[in-house]
Amino acid sequence: MSARLVALVGLLGAVSLLAASCSGGAADTTRAGGKLSTATVPLTTSFETASGEWVVLPMGHLETKLNKFWEVLVKRAGSPRWSLDTPPGVADNGGFAVAVGSGSAASGSDLSSGTGRDADGDGTSVAMGFLVSNLLGFSPLAFTESTAKHWTTGVLPGSLTPLPGSFAGTAGHGYLALLGRRGSRRVAASSSGRSSWTTLTTETAVASSNSGRACRLVALTAVAVMPGGERLLGGSCRSGRVGLFELSGGSIVAAAPRLGRVAKVGTSVAAIDVSRQGAVVVVVEGRRDVVSLVERDGSWQETAALPIAPGEHLEELSESPGGEPAVLLAKGSEAAPRSEELVLLDGTRWQSEGSVPKGTQAVALAARSVTAFLVHDSEAKIKLRRPSGDWVTMQRLVAPILYGSSS
């Protein structure tokens, strides 16, 4: 073989190898299974208090981060109309984590986090934690005890973890906040919520505790304050256990049983709802099934699983008037859901409440009614379900969104 041929073959081989190694752009780089990810849980939520109904939902240009604004709509008790009551003063493109609970300093009973509810208007506090967006480096807070007529402000010593259950508490029992990014999350507490936050524990500390090791903690995902003042933390676990811990006198104690079902890819606590009746912990298994753990008088009961099939995703995690979780389940791709279905936890079983109008962004549940919110840019079309099952448009609400204001 001539030297030229050898050189040629070598050159060809090298070029082909290089070319082939550089051509893998279309290869699928996502890795399925084997590695637990915190489930994607929506920030959209609704809840009912004694003084009104609340919905927190995104409006504007939903596909562009800085032109999507999260709005708070409130229907005060006795009023037939919804009003725009978004806390002012901060760009809210990142969304909110909501802490709801009856219990101003003087009263105090219901306390919950994420999708929780309370008895506003009569000693109620609703607190909104702004999730950071764009260049904001910490989370401001907005508090109301007047059904959103007046807001007061506060600030957290860091960025709220962008999960619906990252903020909880009331003025009467103090607040808990889950701060920071995965791997360096910490739990901060404050009696008033306005300032003077102190760090209670860190993700690392929880993971290295006996309970954290038993659940093989991946990340902290939620916080809650119980009616008696007990502080609960939720997390993602690789084992079949539910990552629910109680912070008690500086120690970390497991507060929930192992799931009866075998969790193949771990569990993640999405929300911890606290009410007079007890606590409801919404758990997502891997990226799929939703399970609830219901606590009544100190004993836990596991509900049936709500299977979420491929092509389906949670669009809203709310609370039913009975204090139990409600889920708006979208079918189809995330970009183009084909239909949405409302599912409520009834006792220990998930019960379909039927479909909602196509394009529904959020659903508000009151004791006697279901309201659907359809968003198109700055306009929310609000539809009420009649007893016959028909949907009737009851209101159009236009939010004066300032597009481009966050750029």
């Binding site: 050159l11 604004f69 901060v90």
Partner: protein, 608 residues
């Protein structure tokens, strides 16, 4: 107002005007170079004539000089013209601002992190100094082109090739992100290994001793190399995961259709895009077969077969140049005609080197052995001036072209050494600072530590004052960083300056909030940084005194407020700056910091 983000147009009139001005100044220097070259040429000619009359009969005739090898001449002229075209393309007025976002960033998008790091280094230099960088690119590329065209033989010509390689590598690395070689999803159709790498190949051949063109060996090597490369590219096209059997080509064509261009070309692109979308498998199969066929023909080493390969390459490459690469220069800020034309030129040069090789061991200029050869350079130069006046004049012209390259290189070299962005960027966004001298209105507020602060309490310092919303998500953190950078740049002089922000949000104005802002922005370490707040009425009075409008917006928007900065000394306002960060790039931030620092320095000088 904050949060209404104003970008920096690539045709910003301030930048374009400065670019034209710099080109004009450079043009005058080029004219001076031309004048010097003409004068020198005239002088040399006259001197040559005198020498001829005096020494002509005694000078031995130069050895008969072989003609420049055809392949070399082809490479030199064609790539010289390409450099000239590239230099002219650099004249586009969008080039100073558009180069980084429209050319450099897209080229490195998707590349490995280390490639992006390298490219970002060059991009930062351009972005920080857009006007001198763009003007430099014009002169360097025009200079190289003229150099190659002027210097046909000898050391001057070889140096031109070497300079071509050096600048080509700069462009290939920083402008083309290594030609996309390390980026996934690339192919020969899209331009790898990068058009400018082929300029480097041509430059290397021109920089090499001319004897490499002797005989057909170089031609064979060139065609072999190109053939092997095309076979490698065929492998990429065949590779299943590369996606070319589906619609990767169509997506590129579709994106090209959107660029501004003549209707006829767009129609051709649209037609081909539709066809490729409908028949992606057939198109890719054709490309693979054509590449393999051309490669085999080039690798054959037989002139007759290679000629067929060259002809097929001309047809295929020109078709790809039009239908996939959109001629490389249309739309956006095209900087070169992409890879197809230079690849074709290399192939043709290889073929010419194969079929019309240079003479074996030709007597090269400067190497001709004459009886004067032992008498040194000057003697040879005198003889050449008499016997080969054309060579002297071409060398002189090459020196002039080299001068044009230097004209471009020096500003770029100086710019790359300066980490501060040019003030022109800030002026393009905000205008020039207003130099003023009026009484500054007082304020009575508290700082982030709860201490009372009034303007009169700061009389012994120069005050740089602005208004920031502590929970603003866009502009205010940027302005704070601009202040921090200006503070640090002042060095020891910063001790005589107090950097102050006043809260511009009537709702979020607690000390806890401003402390949170300071922590988030890393301002707690600055000893001369104060973030002032107070009651709503005191804040409103301060806003009013300084012309700051503050509006609480609804529906989830941040508070809107005016963005101004003041430089105050001894109770007098000395400068008023528009502090809108505009696109808030690193370059515009650095530029504003530079302008603020300069304004403060002027005031410090006045204070003595």
């Amino acid at each position: 107002m904050s949060g209404m983000g104003s970008g920096l147009s690539d045709r910003n009139s301030t930048i374009v005007s400065a670019f034209h001005s710099q080109l004009g100044e450079g043009g005058l220097i080029v004219l001076a170079i031309v004048a010097v070259v003409l004068l020198a040429a005239n002088g040399l000619r006259a001197y040559g004539l005198r020498l001829a009359m005096r020494d002509g009969p005694r000078l031995a005739p130069a050895a008969v000089e072989a003609a420049e090898p055809v392949a070399r001449r082809f490479l030199r002229i064609s790539f010289g013209l390409l450099w000239v075209i590239d230099g002219l393309l650099q004249l586009q007025e969008a080039m100073p601002v558009g180069m980084v976002p429209q050319v450099i960033k897209p080229a490195s998008a998707g590349a490995p992190a280390w490639v992006q790091d390298v490219v970002n280094f060059g991009a930062a230099i351009w972005a920080h100094h857009p006007v001198p960088a763009a003007a430099s690119a014009v002169w360097i590329q025009l200079g190289i082109g003229l150099w190659l065209l002027a210097a046909a033989r000898g050391l001057a010509s070889r140096l031109g090739g070497a300079v071509s390689v050096a600048w080509g590598l700069v462009v290939w690395v920083f402008g083309e992100a290594f030609g996309g070689v390390f980026s996934p999803g690339q192919s020969w159709l899209f331009g790898i290994p990068g058009g400018v790498l082929l300029y480097c190949v041509a430059g290397l051949l021109l920089a090499a001793p001319e004897r490499i063109f002797a005989g057909p060996r170089l031609g064979r090597y060139l065609l072999d190399a190109v053939g092997a490369f095309l076979l490698g590219m065929a492998v990429v096209q065949v590779w299943p995961s590369s996606g070319f059997w589906h619609k990767e080509v169509a997506s590129m064509v579709t994106s090209m259709e959107t660029t501004p261009q003549p209707t006829a070309i767009r129609d051709a692109l649209t037609a081909f895009g539709s066809f490729d979308t409908a028949h992606p498998f057939a198109v890719n199969l054709f490309v693979v077969v054509a590449l393999v066929a051309i490669a085999v023909a080039l690798l054959s080493g037989r002139p007759a077969v290679a000629r067929l390969g060259v002809a097929a390459a001309i047809v295929l490459f020109l078709a790809v140049w039009l239908l996939v690469q959109d001629l490389g220069v249309l739309g956006g800020v095209g900087t070169d005609p992409n890879s197809m034309v230079p690849t074709l030129l290399i192939i043709v040069a290889g073929y010419l080197a194969l079929v019309r090789p240079g003479a074996e061991a030709p007597p090269l200029p400067g190497e001709a052995v004459t009886e004067e050869s032992g008498r040194g350079f000057l003697a040879r130069a005198r003889r050449d001036l008499v016997t080969r006046p054309g060579l002297a004049l071409r060398t002189l012209a090459a020196c002039g072209a080299a001068g044009v390259v230097v004209l471009g290189t020096l500003p770029m070299a100086f710019a790359s050494l300066n980490p501060k962005a040019d003030p022109i960027l800030s002026e393009a966004v905000d205008g020039t600072p207003d130099s003023t001298n009026f009484a500054a209105r007082g304020f009575d507020l508290v700082d982030q530590y709860g201490r009372q602060v009034t303007l009169s309490s700061l009389r012994d310092k120069v005050v740089a004052l602005t208004f920031l919303d502590p929970v603003c998500t866009s502009d205010c953190p940027v302005i704070a960083q601009e202040f921090r950078v200006a503070d640090e740049a002042l060095g020891r002089a910063a001790k005589r300056v107090e950097f102050i922000a006043v809260v511009a949000n009537p709702l979020y104005r607690s000390i806890a909030v401003v402390q949170a802002f300071d922590r988030a922005e890393g301002l707690t370490k600055l000893r001369n940084w104060l973030y002032l707040t107070g009651s709503v009425s005191r804040l409103q009075k301060t806003w009013s005194n300084y012309g700051i409008q503050v509006e609480v917006e609804s529906a989830g928007a941040m508070v809107a407020h005016s963005e101004l900065a003041y430089v105050i000394s001894r109770g007098r306002t000395r400068y008023v700056l528009d502090a809108d960060p505009g696109p808030a790039t690193q370059a515009t931030q650095s530029s504003f910091s530079n302008v603020l620092e300069t304004s403060i320095e002027h005031v410090l000088e006045d204070r003595g």
